[in-house]
């Protein structure tokens, strides 16, 4: 299953690294749900650009959530403990890092890779899905596809580029 542009995903709650349950739905505000993980070089390469987008757009009313859906049994680097250690080691993150233990969120959203970015409007409808920008190796691109989508939504418009191909490591599904 995969969300189409305009679809509303189900309202799911997942625990963050502090154990707080967080709804994936925004409370009447645009939301960015980034499926990501600890071990994938693509996710790591884009990570700082995502964090900078949080810093730039959260004050403008956008809610950000990072979700790790990977099978932690086969990939221990993506366990909740490892997620906690990473966030603590970074001195905290500006967005909650959620554990999708059952992989339900990843299935409902149709996440394919880490990273895979989903932007929902204030009504919870999908308005952008794909990569943060065109090249994980070029920090100067600054997550421009994500930013374009958010700029459009904040201006009351639809993103001109609603979908791009997500690029990264495949989501590690449980067997």
């Amino acid at each position: 299953m995969s969300l189409a542009i305009g679809d509303r995903p189900p309202d799911l709650s997942l625990p963050d690294t502090d154990g707080t349950e967080r709804s994936l739905y925004g409370d009447g505000q645009p939301s960015v749900v980034v499926f990501t993980c600890n071990h994938c070089p693509y996710a790591l390469a884009w990570h700082d650009r995502i964090l900078q987008a949080v810093t730039d757009y959260e004050p403008r009313g956008v809610r950000f959530l990072a979700v790790n859906p990977n099978d932690a049994e086969r990939y221990p680097a993506d366990s909740l403990e490892a997620m906690r250690a990473r966030v603590a080691g970074d001195g905290g993150w500006p967005l909650p890092y959620l554990r999708d233990e059952t992989q339900e969120a990843a299935r409902e959203y149709g996440a394919k890779t880490t990273p895979d970015v989903f932007v929902l409007d204030a009504e919870g409808r999908l308005r952008y899905r794909g990569a943060p920008d065109a090249d994980h190796m070029d920090p100067s691109l600054d997550a421009v596809w994500l930013r374009e989508a958010l700029d459009a939504l904040l201006a009351g418009e639809q993103p001109a580029r609603p979908e791009t191909d997500p690029v990264g490591c495949s989501v590690k599904w449980k067997r």
Partner: protein, 106 residues
């Protein structure tokens, strides 16, 4: 020299790694073909001591040895570029340097 590139599905980096490897081989004047080997299961990854995709081996030895304790499995491998950035493929300069040394020692 036997030059292998081991890769697994679910990680899109091996075409880029192969292109970089072929370019480095050409620049270093090494005529050997690259043998592509897909690692298809966790069991095979364990058996082959495969730390992730892509892994480049010369005469059976990983040219960028994994750190002790690094897990084995079907995953994307993290490399560090010379400027410190994380990358799914080795730094091309590191690759050239490694091939040059291998050629000298062959």
């Amino acid at each position: 020299m036997r030059i292998e590139l081991l890769w697994s599905e679910g990680c899109p980096s091996h075409p880029r790694a192969l292109a970089d490897l072929r370019e480095a081989l050409s620049e270093e004047g090494i005529g050997e073909e690259v043998l592509l080997r897909q690692i298809a299961s966790d069991e095979e990854a364990e058996r082959e001591r495969f730390p992730g995709s892509p892994t480049i081996r010369i005469d059976g030895k990983d040219v960028f040895p994994a750190a002790p304790g690094e897990p084995l499995g079907l995953t994307c491998r993290c490399y560090r570029l010379r400027d410190g950035r994380v990358s799914p493929v080795p730094d091309p300069d590191d690759l050239r340097e490694t091939l040059r040394r291998a050629k000298e020692n062959a």
